[in-house]
Every structure is written in structure tokens, then in C-alpha cells.
Symmetry: C2
Subunit: 413 residues, 2 copies
Amino acid sequence: MTTIRKKIIQTNAASIRLQALKTGTINQVLKHFAAALITHAPAILHANKKDLQQMDTGNPLYDRLLLTPDRLKAISGSIQKVTKLADPAGKVLEKRTLPNGLLLEKITTPIGVVAAIFESRPNVVADIAALCLKSRNACVLKGSRDAYHTNRAIVKVLHQVLKNHELPASLVLLLPPQREVVQELFTATKYIDVIIPRGSNSLIQYVRKNSLVPVIETGAGVCHVYVHSKADVQMAVSIVVNAKTSRPSVCNAMDTVLVDEAIAPVFLKELTTALQQEQVVLYADAASYQLLKGYPWLHKARKEDYYREFLSLACAVKIVKNEAAALQHIAEHGTKHSEAIVTNDKKTADLFLQLVDAAAVYHNASTRFTDGEEFGLGAEVGISTQKLHARGPFALEKLVTEKWVLRGKGQVR
Amino acid sequence: MTTIRKKIIQTNAASIRLQALKTGTINQVLKHFAAALITHAPAILHANKKDLQQMDTGNPLYDRLLLTPDRLKAISGSIQKVTKLADPAGKVLEKRTLPNGLLLEKITTPIGVVAAIFESRPNVVADIAALCLKSRNACVLKGSRDAYHTNRAIVKVLHQVLKNHELPASLVLLLPPQREVVQELFTATKYIDVIIPRGSNSLIQYVRKNSLVPVIETGAGVCHVYVHSKADVQMAVSIVVNAKTSRPSVCNAMDTVLVDEAIAPVFLKELTTALQQEQVVLYADAASYQLLKGYPWLHKARKEDYYREFLSLACAVKIVKNEAAALQHIAEHGTKHSEAIVTNDKKTADLFLQLVDAAAVYHNASTRFTDGEEFGLGAEVGISTQKLHARGPFALEKLVTEKWVLRGKGQVR
């Protein structure tokens, strides 16, 4: 047995220690963790410097990896917030007495051991550990090599807090950043209950393909805003601009704008005025290309551009005949993440909200709201684009499973 | 593209037709299906005869495969029951107005396309198709070669009913029984939302290992009854006998009885008197072997016997020191299916119910109750032994996913 496997087994064995822990106790642990991150800021920032030294300052990941006292305060504050969220475990979801007298309850319980594989950003390790502990799950964390010293320093602080509360450090296991250790996760079906990959699409596909442990994908978002013929043009422009430009690097940013041909000339004219200021690059289909002529960052769209998650100040444009064509385009090109319609016609909006198959569907609002905090759920492990267990923001409330508890007086069948 | 893939794509495209279907309409379809199974009984029984002719009458699967007019009536009745269950789709799970004025709702929606891979029994094809249609899911069904003519005859009846309601037959796709077609399911991540293997452990492991589509395991049950030192001996005997002998071939039957050493001599004596009548074979650890000497069907247990799902009139026996030892044994050997404790000590019972990690945990009742009908949920697709999405009976209520629906007035972030 490998050392890694042994550690995973220890984490699994320790997980039972969390099951009976009271809400107040776990909140105390998290409060101390939040405070300790500030007390130990020098050590953490020092470790972060080590990581940064190994990265080229021109690397786009450099800023994501960089910790400052302020950023560390934000991480600490985010853990404080988790202490204020409702306890997801121990909720009675159903309760009834069966005809034979058995008292049946369905109760939320911790999942057990949650594994997360993630890239760069140092807040992720603290966030996921805090969410797992709050929901009474042990966790196995595998960050990227780039952030290893930082992650290790943060987890070291947490281990000390756990020990102070007489809880085993093995409840939070940080794995070394070698890719080989991931294989140990994938085959540990007996000891790990779920694996959550958070990061690039290639990471997610790799995990999906190789893991025997159930996976919750927190996937890529190819998101659309559909501007219907009965849209308020000003509102449509404002939503599209926001969905594309407010934070282009995130999964809920818009990738393609679809516009009804009836409204296209007016809408595209207004839109380009706004997008021009942000120098947004447009990939346009033949019909919209004609209307957009003269726009300085214009390209002809290739078929594959409609499958792209741009993650930058660029988007695709397509003119559609009607709502049926828009729905069809989204069904083919969307990734079931976030989809919006802008229209003043309630019937069309309702049809869109019902028929579009996505985690979050919007009428007259920006796709950018798909987010745990925005939805009032608190921090999230990621945005799930699959349909089982968690869909959309995968937040604290979904870090539990269910258990059927039956109390009898000797009933047999 | 293969013919099978084309058909799967058709099924996916058709699935949208179900989304807007009213509860009353789908119940009508199912009622007609139930009635048509009786009207077309001769054709179905004829097809069943064809399947049976290819099987040796001595094969233990022969009786499972055999359809009679009465069994067909039972299948029809089971579909009638599905029409009476509450509609799982369209339930508003959450509803609130966000601080920015967005109206947020979380609503249950159909999963989309559900694939099931199953073995022998002809009721499965009708049950799963009915549950999927009721929950507005299209389905892709792959039965065993043994039952192919029967399955095809049943699906043919359903296709005619769908056509009579102007619904596409492609909503229910029955695949040919070649194993190769399963590969098409495993890679159809864009068109199939979940695969449910229902059958032997080797089938389930094969699907788990090879599918890129998320899988819900409906797995094997290595189930325990733990007789605590403060158990009512008569009750314990009655529960163990029922859990082992009432239907040994099913997953919720007991496989190992654990007994506290303090109560073991009395309990085992009473137990053997009862088990002897059923000729139950016992695999005993060293300590219980001594106490059981003279019992006619007694073996020494090997380590691996405690990992066995017997599915027959046989079980393992082990004497444990106390509840901690029992919990540890179950954690190591259980499959997280159904676990029971017999005791009059409430505190020990509560500890057991909390700490045992299983889909269903019982105090003073038989493990045999883990079943959708028994729990009041109706027919089930299987018993899930995993922790995500559905745990325990995977019934109609879980054949849905969730969708976040947001209605705004132009909100941007």
C-alpha cells in the first residue's frame, strides 16, 4: 500500500469524528481558523513568496496566485461567513409513520470524505476546507504545484487549530502536487465518496475519464443571451455588455449573443457603440457580419466559434429567425450552465425558461448572477453543470447526502 | 456515426416534447399503456415463449424470465400505481426575491434522457419506462439478451400508445442486446444524462469503470443485523430470521449477524432452532463456532465470508465485544445499503443510527424494508448505494434534477 493510500484511509477513519460534532463546536473551529490565518499571516505570505519566485511575473496566473495582507483578510472573512450559514447536516427532510408502525425519517448527513482537485488560487484550499468541515466532511485536497507552499502553509494553520480542539489533523489531508497521487484518489472508491474537479476543462475531462469515484463536474460555461424581437433594446444592450465585460474570465460570462432578425439592425447598432469602448472582439455570422461592417474588431465566425468559452473580451454573434431557432442553437451549443432571454413578451420568456436545459435560466437579467453568494447560498465549491445531486452553485447545502432512519418495535416483512 | 448513436440523438431531441406535457396527459398515456399490456397479452406471452425456448428450464433465471397472464397483470397494475404517484417535476423547492429584486426559484425538472442497463426480469423494462415517462424523461433501455423478445414486445405496445397520443416512439428507445451498444451509451455524454445499471455486481462495476456519463449505482447489499447485549432475544431472533430467510435473493437480505459476546450463548441457541427449519448455512467465527457446534450446516468462516453478499439461505456469524467493535466491523465490511441494530437501549440505538454510514439504518426492525413501495415512494429504479443524488430507494421522486429560474427587470452585476 502506498503512503498516500494510507493517509487517505486515515482521513476516512477520522471522518467519523465529525459526525457527532455539534454546530457550535464546528463554528468555533472555523472562527479560530479564520483568526489564525491573520495571526499567521507572515508565515503564509512568506510561503506564498516562495511559490511566486518560481513563477514568471508575466504569467497570467501570477496575479491569481499572489497573496497580500488584504487578500488574506478576505479569505479569513470568507471563512467567518461560513460560520454564519445554516447547518446543512441533521435536517429532517421527511418524517412519517408507515402503516406497519415503523417511524421513518429522511435526514441529511455528511457525505463522508470529499476530495477536491483544483488549480492555482490560494483561497480555494481555505474555502473548500471550511465548507467541508462545516458540513462535517473530511476532505482530501489536491492543489496545483504552483501554489503548493501557500496551500501547505494554510493547511498547517488549520491543522494546528484542529489539534487545539482535539480533532485529528487527518480530517484535512493536503496531497503533494504530483499528478501520480491523483490516481490514488481515482481508485479509492472505498474511502472517498466524491471527487470535485475545479479548474480547466481539460482537468475536468481527465477526472471524468479516469475516476472510479463519483465525480461532480464544475464545468465550463458556454452561455448565451438571446435578444428576442420584443426586447427592450436598451435593457438588452445593458445585459449583454454586463454579461460579457464585467468579468470575462469567469464561467458565467456570456459567450454568444443571439438576436432575432427583426430587431437585429437596431440592437446591433446600439450594442457596438457600447462594446467598442471595451474593445470587445466579435465573431459574427454572415448576416450580422453585414450589419456590423465598420466595427473595428470584427471577424467572420467559424462553426467552432459557437462552441467556444471565450474567457476573454470576445464573443460570438448570431442572427436567428425566431425563438425556436434560438432554442435549437442553445440546445446544440450550450453547456447547460447559464442562459438568458431578454424580452417583454411573458409567454416567450416562460417558454424559454421551461425549455432551455441549463442550471440557471434568466429572463431580463445578466447570466453573471450564477454564483453561490448571489443566490444567497454562501461560498461554493464550484458551479455544477451536471444534473445529479447539485446543479448550479454547489454550495454548503449540497455537501450532504441523505440517510433513511427507521425505528421499530420488532417489525419484520 | 453509428445507427445506435443516431437513435440516441433522436431520443435526446424527442425528450423536449415531454417537458411541457401536463400531469394529466402523461397519466393518460400510462393508463393506456397499462391497459394495452392486457389487450396485447397474447403477443407478449408469445414473445416470452420465444425467449424461454432458448433457455434451459433448469436455469435459475428461467422462472424470473417466465411471464404468465397473472404476472403480466401485475406489471400492468404496477404501471397503474405510477399514475397515482405525485408528479415529481415542476415542484418549487425554493422561492425568494434577492436584494437586487431578482425573483429566484429552484424548480424540479426532468433529468432529460435516462439510460438503464438491466438483466432478465421482464417487469423491469415496463417499470423503468413508466417511471421515466411519468417524470418526463426520455429513456434508453438495454436489457439482457435472454429477455430480448419479451422486452421488444412490451416496448412495441408502448410505442403504439405513444403514437396514439401523437408522441414520438423515440422517447423510449430499446437497444439491441449486443454488449457493443453499451459503449455507445458510455460515450454519449452530450445526449444521455445518467446511466443506471441494475443487476449483478460485475455489471455495475463494468459500467462504473467504463462510463463517461454519470452513473447511479444500484448496488450490492452486504447487510448486517447487530444484536446488542441489551436486545430482546425473541425480537432479535425474529428479525434475523426474517432478514435472512423471507427473500434471500434480494439486496436487502441480511448477510452477517453480529452478536455481543454477553448475549451470544442465549441468542445463538434460540437462533439455531429457528434457522434449522430453513436449513440456513452458517459461516461462524471461532468463538461462535464453539457455541454452534452440533448445528448441521455449520462452516468455519474465512475472512472473505464477511464480505460476501450471499443471495441464498446462508449467512455469516460473528461475536463482537461491544458496539464499537460492531460499528468497526460494519464500516469495514458493509456496502452502505441497509444495517440494523436490535437493542432496548435507546442511547446505543441512537449512536448506531447516527454513526453507521448506510442508505438505510434500522432500530428493532428487519433490513428487508429497504424498498420504494415499503417506504411509500412507489416503484423504484433500484436501491442506490452511493451518496450522490439518490440514496436508498431510487424512486420517482428522484428522477428529476433542479433548475434555478431567475426573473428580472434588467438586473446586471
